[in-house]
Symmetry: none
Subunit: 200 residues, 4 copies
DNA sequence: AATGAATGAGGGTTCATTCAT
DNA sequence: GATGAATGAACCCTCATTCAT
């Protein structure tokens, strides 16, 4: 990579990081492209060299941040000594929830709508460079001692429930603060996982 | 109610209905207040007599439409001959899902984020005029032959899962079209309900 | 005065007083007629029964407040034991300055532009009901043991200098706080008065 | 200075001059920003590139026009053969009054309130480019054969009296047309100047 | 590739004034 | 006389996008 390419990449990354900072602090609607370029220290026209518009950079950020989240959880799982698919999946969910509890702006930004969508979009966009979260999920299922039916459905259901319920519980403490809600959530997740297990 | 009050109400309702039409067809961001008043046939200033801004009318619409949804489902339940809390709750969820399948603009509008929030906000705002959805839910639980623990948590979990998963399934047919996903969803809901049942 | 007339007068006075409050606290430009009528507790249309527009009520207020100022100073002079035209005029100026030091919103409202104009407008409008400030000034001159030339010019010059310089000195403490500026101001006023004295 | 900078300056000046024309003919309250940009032949957004709002451009205009006024009077003084501080100061005042008599819109625009304030603000803002009016005043005092006490106070008093009285006399011919009032005014100014002279 | 001045459509909001009740 | 809902012109200001340099 030449010096020019490096400079190019630096500009793009500056825009990326600055946009994230502003989106999480001021909200997307209140963030103007001029805010982003000003804070990033580049010219207005430069923005359009790398991104189509505000929503383009937002979508790319959501995908990126979601991948980071799942990827870090997956890495932590590998370092831990957890057995059983249900325990592993709940470990991942718990890791993500804990991260988001400490980072509410991030939670607000990706918001529950988009978790699964972003995860899925990993496949559609060509951006999965080795840390393909969804495949990692699937391999967890395959490695388990039990067999599972309709794995796609199972993973979808788990992520939707955890994402949607976790969002409200963390941000609004409704119906309970997340620490008190976790036992209920994880019990539900276990039941859902079990219901997909093929009895042999 | 005098003639003037009647006229006032007509204006407010014209704005309310027109805003809903435009929000669902063009989206909120692309709907200008001038669009609303023009189509509603009132002057621009009139809008500000009844609503603070675009987001005010949007929030009131979400609450209103969500209430309608739950209210209609509750009415249908009363006319049907359904026994058992699990069957009743699933009947309600199913009724709402079927309504939204036939009315995707509405689904898009209220979106999964807001279902439960809107439902809860029913209590906070003074807008529950007899058709108080949440209390109706609670009375279903009370009337059941079984007893249930942590009812708030149960209802929250059910609504979040159904809302979040239903949203994706209906709109994007992911991971399955809603008709194929329903069995999985309702099985999960049943498990969650059962897990709150107090064994006597 | 019948009950109806009394009620009428009360409404007009409520508007008058409320307008003054709002003009001095929020400024004239930022005060809407709707603000005035709301705070005064009357209907919007009622405003137009008594005043032509915002500037009509403002002008009437300036005249009224300026008259009050001079009238109170004249009354105080009568109660005091002051001799010599120069001492008397400076007593009046000093009384007004002291009042305005304690009431900066009033100073800001009438502002230096308008002091003399308002004083003069007393004659033009038919509103001088016995407390005619300008005539009172003139009679002070006549009663003095000395004779004066070009009395109109003298009074004008005095009021302009005191008003204009006092305004800056009180509000901005420029070039000195008013208490330090007073000796200079009063020395200048004395010189101007003396210069109009006819040596006999 | 590059081509771009030149173009920038031209735009800013076009706005500046057009705003002055409109403010003096229509008044500030009745001049909309859209009027200014339209007449200046630039886009609306361009206005906001150079000025914060209507009051920003107004303030800058007042400072600018006041400086011009004092600067021209100072230049004329240098070309004239006048001796004695009192004569010099009165020459300057007279020059300004004569200019304003011929240019009543300008008088109305800067109005008596703002003369001294604008003059003083010359120091605060960094806009004094060689033609620093206030310092010029001071050097006149220093060069005089007599010594003066409290020079700040003296200059302030002179400018306030001349500004305030001149304003009314020119615009309303009250209490006398300016040509008839001048002798009185200048007599008063002389007395004030003398009163600051240190007898040696 | 990078810049940033210029654009101008577009949207939100205010508010003096009217007039039917 | 008094009301206050309704009006809609007027205005401010933002900001995505372009394009000459």
């Amino acid at each position: 990579m030449g010096k020019v390419d490096e400079k190019k990449k630096r500009k793009k990354e500056a825009l990326f990081n600055t946009a994230y900072d502003l989106f999480t602090t001021k909200g997307i609607n209140s963030t103007a492209i001029s805010d982003i370029v000003e804070k990033a220290g580049v010219a207005k026209g430069t923005f359009y060299l790398y991104f189509k518009d505000k929503y383009d950079i937002r979508n790319k950020l959501i995908v990126h941040k979601t991948q980071e989240l799942f990827s870090a959880a997956g890495d932590a799982l590998e370092r831990a000594d957890i057995h059983g698919l249900d325990n592993k999946l709940i470990f991942i969910i718990d890791h993500i929830i804990n991260t988001l509890v400490d980072n509410k702006p991030l939670l607000n930004f990706i918001s529950k709508n988009l978790v699964m969508g972003a995860l899925r979009s990993t496949f559609l966009t060509g951006e999965h460079s080795g840390n393909d979260s969804y495949e990692r999920f699937l391999s967890l299922v395959e490695q388990d001692e039990h067999e599972y039916k309709d794995v796609d459905v199972m993973l979808f259901t788990i992520v939707e429930l955890a994402g949607s319920a976790g969002y409200n519980s963390i941000l609004y403490e409704e119906p309970l603060p997340i620490e008190h809600y976790k036992p209920f959530l994880y019990r539900s997740l276990r039941l859902i996982i079990e219901s997909h297990r093929v009895e042999s």
